[in-house]
Symmetry: C2
Subunit: 225 residues, 2 copies
């Protein structure tokens, strides 16, 4: 742990914002919002990251992690996702609560504990939300998937990942039978209302906004209905 807990949180936040952003650069405001701090605070912390060669940044521009910063971010992400997997698989907690728990635990896991955890869990490749777990060497393979919102009426698909970490979203999905690995079918789409109707295999039809559906990633099934 060369970095302080705060620095670790900044690195992870910048990494994730950067992945999302078009230009591959993280806007300062997004970083601040992700961390729940003011823009001024984020600006001064980023200066420290730049001084530590973890990020690059020029005045009024975006923030970009260096190779060193990216490596550190992936290491934190690995700890976060392995902890989430442990909390669900070993301790039996619900997938809607583990994100916040992991947000604190990720900073207290030493390399030794991390490796023991990884072995205990059988070296998993994905966390409970379908997020890929970076390997110890920093390798990260994103799974091939498309937003559920891009499916057409009648299409079948397998749910492979949920990007939204908000507890109520995850509780809604679980209650609907929409968990990672489940297969489902699009019953109908109402573009005017911005709503799609989904039927999970062996469940009842549920309505979701296309916005919410765009944060659920699926892999289409070859079989047509």
């Amino acid at each position: 742990m060369l970095a302080t807990e705060t620095v670790e949180n900044y690195l992870k936040a910048i990494y994730l914002v950067q992945r999302e952003a078009a230009a591959g650069e993280a806007p300062m405001g997004k970083i601040a919002a992700a961390l729940g701090v003011t823009a001024g605070t984020a600006t001064s912390m980023v200066k420290k990251l730049v001084a530590a060669r973890l990020a690059r940044h020029e005045r009024f521009g975006g923030v970009r992690l260096t190779a060193k910063g990216t490596r550190a971010a992936l290491d934190i992400l690995r700890r976060h996702r392995l902890v989430e997997t442990f909390l669900v698989d070993t301790l039996g907690l619900d997938w809607s609560v583990v994100h916040d728990e992991a947000e604190r635990l990720e900073h207290a896991i030493s390399p030794m504990v991390l490796d023991a955890l990884d072995r205990h869990l059988g070296r998993p490749a994905f966390d409970p939300h379908g997020d890929p777990i970076p390997r110890a060497d920093g390798a990260l393979q994103e799974s091939e998937a498309m937003p559920m919102s891009e499916l057409g009426a009648g299409d079948g698909a397998r749910l492979v990942r949920v990007l939204d970490q908000r507890g109520d979203s995850l509780r809604f999905l679980r209650a609907s039978g929409l968990k990672v690995g489940a297969t489902l079918r699009v019953v109908a789409i109402e573009p005017g209302a911005g709503v799609m109707r989904i039927r999970p295999d062996g469940g009842t039809v549920v309505s979701m906004s296309t916005t919410a559906a765009s944060r659920v990633l699926v892999r289409p099934l070859r079989g047509r209905s």
Copy 2:
């Protein structure tokens, strides 16, 4: 977590020093030493604990936890010892390394995770070192035991607890076959050299200083050799 991580560390340290001390009061210097800070730092932190009604203290006197402070300390101790138990029983780490790991993890464990951990471990009463684990309601029952240094030559006993958390002490004990639950016999005592010779059941004789032996707690066996 009403308290900060630092405050949690102070509460636990004061609790343990207080248990050790004769007068039931923790001297400021011992607290500082236990936490690795200067006496001045400890003095000012104790002022904060007093302001928060977690401890009582008068100038140049000892420190004593209030009921509220004791309750908080026991809660932290519970987290610490359950985490140690998890690291040994579930992850298979050696008992000589888990103390330091738990020192950090104890602050990141929420009540929900703690309870899930407790259930997963089968609600253990003792940690890997034989230290009693406080119950969720704060109840703590010390086990009946005496220092191994008080045994006489020829006495048999069962090892029930190791007070010393130092890594090399624990590694020595494990390498000698002296683990919690093991039975042993005192082969000889050399008061002049301050050394006792111990034979663990099914092991070979080892020599230990009486000082080291006084930190190993045992329960005598009724059978004589």
